[in-house]
């Protein structure tokens, strides 16, 4: 956030660098059931982000000390492919992916009916293949579709989108340059039917009013993402999918 630059992120007409309006999301498309090995999967393109998610389980919980008699243990793994970013990402966990995995896992716990599968685990693995700002929202949105594709019982989906501050405006779904040179980022995830907030982060510099505007806008973005999630699942079950 907040690298200084002369780049003007919003022009006089209120258009953004990539021509989007302030409350316009980048193009999002999702396909369910793209991997043959996984119990459920989804491929997602969101702007230039390319993300793929796979779900395995419920299955025996390993290591065993992580098993719970009260329900299935969700294990979320956010990972970036080495070639997904300009400076090659060294394989393996780093602090950033550890944090993202933790809060995304917690977010999904709100909707998955884990209590139906005591002592088991459900693995949700997401690979970022090309990163272009907003990968944690893209990953979580794809993961929900993969869970549904796996037939895991859920109360609802989790849909995710970010808002942020570019120049002096609160805008929806930051692009890469907006992310680098903007002033704040507010990734969110909600349960669409209830509007409950299951993921919320913020970094940057926002007035209280701006923060509220950003949350409202991000919530709208989440609802747009939810529409695409539903489309993907319908397409899969209409088409019969790949499997």
């Amino acid at each position: 956030m907040g690298m200084k630059s002369d780049i003007k992120l919003i022009d006089a007409k209120g258009k953004r660098l990539d021509g989007r309006a302030i409350d316009e999301m980048r193009p999002l498309k999702i396909e369910a059931g793209v991997l043959e090995q996984a119990d459920g999967s989804a491929y997602l393109e969101w702007g230039n982000n390319k993300v793929i998610a796979a779900v395995y389980g419920p299955r025996e919980c390993l290591p065993r000390h992580k098993a719970s008699p009260y329900g299935s243990t969700l294990m979320y793994r956010y990972n970036m492919a080495p070639f997904s970013v300009d400076d090659r990402k060294r394989p393996g966990r780093d602090r950033r992916s550890t944090e993202i995995s933790k809060i995304s896992e917690e977010a999904l716990n709100k909707v998955v009916l884990t209590e139906r599968f005591p002592n088991s685990m459900i693995n949700i693995n997401v690979e970022v293949l090309q990163a272009d700002a907003g990968t944690r929202c893209a990953a979580l949105t794809a993961a929900s579709v993969a869970l549904a594709d796996a037939g895991i019982p859920m109360k609802d989906m989790v849909a995710s989108c970010a808002a942020g501050k570019a120049g002096d405006h609160i805008v929806l779904d930051l692009g890469k340059l907006e992310d680098n040179f903007g002033k704040a980022d507010v990734p969110m995830a909600i349960v669409p039917h209830t509007g409950e907030i299951v993921l919320l982060q913020m970094d940057g510099d926002l007035s209280p009013k701006e923060f509220k505007t950003a949350m409202t806008l991000a919530t709208k973005g989440c609802m747009m993402a939810y529409e695409e999630q539903k489309k993907a699942l319908k397409a899969k079950y209409k088409g019969g999918g790949k499997k």
């Binding site: 956030m1 907040g2 690298m3 000390h65 992580k66 602090r95 950033r96 550890t98 944090e99 995995s101 933790k102 809060i103 917690e106 716990n109 709100k110 704040a184 507010v186 349960v191 209830t194 509007g195 409950e196 907030i197 299951v198 993921l199 919320l200 982060q201 913020m202 970094d203 940057g204 510099d205 926002l206 007035s207 209280p208 701006e210 923060f211 509220k212 949350m215 919530t219």
Partner: protein, 260 residues
């Protein structure tokens, strides 16, 4: 080797029942901090340090200063690094070994809070453009874990940064001798953490309240607004809950700042 205390279940019920009545086990109001004590310069050998007690929670933040290469895209700017160690000394829940996801989360949220608040004047930390800059290392060391390390840790970190003296740099080497000049720190970012237990939202969770929580929200507050936020926990917040917690955080941040 996850540590589970069988009493947590019972305590959690108790915390939930109290919360439903708007009460807390230690008699505090829902929006009260526990007693806070800040001792700066607790580690006089270090350039800066502070010990924070927040109720029974104890965290030391210590600052180290080193000279290092700047990032190639910011050749004039100092570098900030923030770590948190949840050592087994502090709790039967903590294990030796590489940082747990919990420790990583705490370190990263405090890091963002300090970084995004623009608290440290990084451009004053250049020694030689593109060659050498000061690296400011903030290490949070938890001595007793009794809930809410976010707020105690961030308070300790900010207090320690405000307490930090520069070191000498001579002939390409750092001389470990504290100078009169202070580290250029302009702001006092602090964190305010709320947890939701059942339908009740309360400030500054105790350990039992953390074990019982449904969801957690931390706001990183800087003088004029928000610099960081982080939701945790397997439950959710409604928008109005977030809004009212945030409004409270703006007041409470001022209270915390008085300790620095």
């Amino acid at each position: 080797m996850t540590f589970i205390d069988p009493s947590w279940g019972v305590k959690s019920d108790y915390v939930h029942n109290l919360a439903a009545k708007g009460e807390r086990a230690d008699g505090r109001g829902m929006n009260d901090y526990r007693k806070i004590e800040v001792t700066t310069d607790f580690i006089p050998h270090a350039p800066g340090s502070a010990l924070v007690k927040m109720g029974d929670t104890q965290v030391i933040a210590g600052i180290s200063l080193q000279a290092g290469k700047p990032y190639s895209d910011r050749p004039n700017s100092g570098v900030l690094m923030t770590g948190a160690e949840l050592v087994p000394l502090a709790s039967p829940e903590f294990e030796a070994g590489p940082p747990s996801p919990k420790a990583v989360e705490i370190a990263r949220v405090v890091d963002r809070c300090i970084r995004e608040s623009d608290s440290i004047d990084m451009d004053k930390l250049c020694i030689e453009k593109g060659e050498a800059v000061w690296m400011v290392m903030v290490d949070m060391h938890v001595l007793n874990y009794a809930g809410n390390i976010f707020d105690a840790g961030c308070l300790a970190a900010t207090a320690a940064l405000h307490n930090t003296k520069m070191l000498k740099f001579e002939d390409g080497l750092v001389i470990k001798e504290k100078q009169k000049t202070k580290l250029p720190v302009k702001k006092k970012p602090v964190e305010c953490t709320f947890v939701k237990v059942g339908d009740a939202v309360m400030l500054d969770p105790s350990l039992d309240e953390e074990h019982a929580l449904d969801a957690r929200i931390t706001f990183g507050m800087v003088e004029k607004g928000l610099c960081a936020a982080q939701k945790g926990g397997k439950g959710s917040f409604t928008q109005p809950e977030i809004d009212s917690a945030f409004e409270l955080a703006m007041k409470k941040a001022g209270e915390l700042r008085k300790h620095i």
